[in-house]
């Protein structure tokens, strides 16, 4: 275990100030809850001279519904998500993912922005936010853009942000009445940091017909992935357990998992099938038709 690098900590109280620090200081990195960053710095050498604390920036911490969108500020903690009635009722997949993460202590510090920017292929908020077709707002001092959530992930533990950029907000369209979503994961105690496989599904049904189906899996490739081919086979169809079973088997073949110390590729394929089925069935049952 290494000592922490010799960085200086900055505690800006506004987003503007934080962006300014990131733009001007050399080797500066944001820190939100620190639940990924501190263990990482204890494990490998991280070349950092300045840490910009985001946890004192009030304007980044919110959950609200506005103009047809559910909007979540980057430093919203996992505990904040779990405590939110809005998330529990409108986006149960996201709620279940947040509630499944780490421990109470970790959820009290860990943030949505940190989970995404850490860009672990197993990040538990990846699949539900993909299934909800969420977008992330990325800001620097002089630029502001929205990108699909999947584009935050650039590879295992690499995000797509430039060094002077921050992820400031996550938003997705408020799911309509009658939509259902669900999250499932398999992990091991103590491997708490990383699910072996996780999955989220989002379904809209109208007149017995599946209008929208979205399915995303995590820890089965270098980043969380949508299962487009599987989704196509569900849309426009009348859902049944048989169809869901068939589509889930397809997911087991679509994923490209790796063997690692935590699980074999074969096991991950099997789990992709099992979790796809569970998530789809649960999301479907939640569609109040």
């Amino acid at each position: 275990m290494r000592p922490l690098p010799r960085f200086r900590v900055h505690r800006p109280e506004s987003l503007e100030k934080a962006l300014e620090l990131l733009a001007t200081l050399e080797k500066a990195k944001p820190i939100a809850g620190g639940t990924d960053l501190i263990p990482l710095m204890r494990e490998v050498e991280v070349d950092v001279k300045h840490l910009i604390d985001l946890s004192h920036i009030g304007e980044l911490n919110f959950i609200r519904e506005e103009e047809g969108y559910i909007r979540i500020g980057a430093t919203t903690t996992l505990s904040d998500l779990v405590a939110s009635e809005l998330i529990a009722s409108k986006a149960p997949a996201l709620w279940e993912a947040a509630a499944s993460m780490g421990s109470p202590q970790i959820r009290n510090r860990g943030t949505i922005g940190g989970n995404l920017c850490n860009a672990s292929p197993a990040a538990d908020l990846g699949p539900p936010l993909l299934a909800l077709e969420a977008e992330a707002e990325i800001r620097s001092l002089d630029e502001r853009r929205w990108i699909p959530i999947g584009e935050v992930f650039a590879g295992p533990k690499v995000n797509s942000l430039a060094e002077d950029e921050l992820l400031t907000e996550v938003r997705f369209k408020t799911p309509p009445q009658g939509a259902g979503s669900a999250f499932e994961k398999i992990g091991r105690r103590r491997a708490v940091t990383l699910a072996l496989v996780n999955a989220a599904a989002y379904i809209e049904v109208e007149d017995e017909t599946c209008r929208v189906a979205r399915l995303a899996l995590g820890a089965v490739a270098d980043r969380p992935l949508r299962m487009g081919e599987a989704e196509e086979r569900l849309m426009g169809k009348e859902l049944s357990e048989e169809l869901i079973e068939e589509v889930s088997a397809l997911c087991g073949r679509l994923v490209r998992p790796i063997d690692d110390v935590r699980a074999s590729a074969w096991y991950r394929r099997e789990m992709s099938r099992v979790l796809s089925r569970r998530a789809l069935l649960k999301a479907w049952r939640r569609c109040a038709t």
Partner: protein, 156 residues
């Protein structure tokens, strides 16, 4: 850097390094020894403290980030009615063996009972999911927390 925060109800000022965790500051500079170092990476919960009333791992928290905030440890909580009852139940139910996990465990339990006076066994287990115990196998710990809750409700 100079750091000002509330420790167990009293504002203190102390010198802290930028790259120091709250755990190091508490144990090594402020003599708060109930807070234990187990894994140092957020997995065992031995270092649990309350930050603005919520349990967090002090090994993952940089000391400079507690500026202006409130930190509570067993030293400051031990005389609160909920904590007294918990400590008594832990002793009576054999929920302590080597005792290394106990302070962190008590803080998680305290946080639970402060919010939820009538937790189910499942809720107790979820509340202490971030606290590892190598000795007891958890059964007596869960029992002690449920017993303490019952006594606090006056349903002895």
């Amino acid at each position: 850097m100079m750091l000002r925060f509330k420790l167990n109800g009293e504002w203190i000022e102390c010198e802290a390094e930028h790259n120091e965790t709250l755990l190091d500051l508490l144990r090594e500079k402020l003599g708060v020894k109930s807070v234990k170092r187990g894994c140092n990476v957020g997995e065992c919960g031995a270092c649990t403290v309350l930050l603005d009333g919520r349990p967090v791992n002090s090994c993952l928290l940089l000391a400079p980030l507690v500026e202006g905030r409130s930190v509570e440890t067993l030293e400051g909580l031990r005389d609160k009615p909920i904590m007294r009852e918990l400590i008594e139940a832990f002793v009576e139910d054999g929920a302590i063996q080597c005792g290394f996990c106990t302070p962190g465990m008590l803080i998680s339990a305290y946080s639970l009972l402060s919010r939820n006076p009538k937790p189910s066994e499942g809720e107790v287990r979820r509340a202490i999911a971030g606290n590892l115990c190598r000795c007891t196998g958890y059964v007596n710990i869960v029992k002690a927390i449920l017993d303490a809750a019952e006594r606090l409700r006056g349903e002895d």
